[in-house]
Amino acid sequence: MIGILMAILTGFFIALQSVTNAAIGSGVSTWTTAMITQAVGATGALIIYLFSKKSHVNGFKKVKPLYLFGGSFGAIVVASSVIAVTLVGATVAISLTLIAQLGTVVIIEALGVFDVRKQPIAGMQWIGLTLMMIGVVFISL
């Protein structure tokens, strides 16, 4: 029960975040928005880390250097999302973002790049993504 509540709250906060980021973006520039919102988030996460049970930090050295750059994509994610939500509204922006996210992971898996086990795109995934795209078309009508 708490698990389901937590999952619902996760969705609530993600939707809320796209709107709060758009709100910040109405006051300052897009890159400033992305910089501030992630800096504040990082500060919060660091404070929680300092007060929580410490996981070992030396693991960073074992990560292939390329994969340390995942976080930096957050700049483009937040900046694009701020403009998208402002232009098309939360529901359409979030739906399209979700489909693109699933599609990208599926393509990366199909190509087997970035040290991901190669697996072809399944029929169910095509059908699912197609239905979702039709859904977005309905919402944007």
Binding site: I4, A7, L9, T10, G11, F12, F13, I14, A15, Q17, V19, A22, I24, V28, M35, Q38, V40, G41, A42, G44, A45, I48, S52, S55, F60, V63, L68, G70, G71, S72, F73, G74, I76, V77, V78, S81, A84, V85, G89, A90, T91, A93, L96, T97, L98, A100, T104, V105, I108, D115, M124, I127, G128, L131, M133, I134, G135, F138, I139, L141
Partner: protein, 150 residues
């Protein structure tokens, strides 16, 4: 309208890419220190993009309201709840319920014109659209379920 759609797709593509990269990061670094690292690097990258494209205007905070400074903490809510939900339900179920909630709340935000959103009237096609996306997502997930059972 089209630019907004394209940028939403760009955001999603980079989230997908980020998921893959962070998966490799999480093999060795997990928890709040991983979150801190991901967000700090995201913030630094934003600063660099801002400096290159807008110059010193990236430090123009004059339009910031006091409440805006705290909005960044919403992300902490996302991570905390996601960790808890995944621990209790497993990733597949947690993500599925999370996404459904995300769609419903975004629709509520649009319909109420929450914060800076332009208020839109709820139409039947919107609900139909959200239902189609949820069904699509369930079908999309059927494949991964079959695989994990092997």
């Amino acid at each position: 309208m089209i630019l907004g759609g394209i940028l939403a797709v760009v955001a999603g593509a980079f989230i997908g890419l980020q998921n893959i990269f962070n998966r490799h990061l999480n093999e060795y670094v997990t928890g709040w220190i991983a979150t801190t690292f991901v967000l700090i690097t995201g913030s630094i990258a934003s600063l660099l993009f801002g400096l290159i494209l807008d110059g010193m205007d990236v430090f123009d905070f004059s339009g910031m309201k006091v409440s805006y400074w705290f909005f960044g903490l919403v992300g902490i809510g996302v991570i905390y709840c996601m960790m808890q939900a995944m621990k209790r339900l497993g990733p597949t179920k947690a993500v599925l319920i999370g996404v459904i909630a995300q769609l419903i709340f975004s629709l509520i935000f649009d319909v109420t014109g929450f914060l800076v959103l332009p208020q839109v009237n709820l139409k039947w096609v919107d609900i139909l659209g959200v239902v189609l996306i949820i069904i699509g997502l369930l079908i999309f997930n059927m494949k991964s379920k079959v695989q994990t059972n092997k």
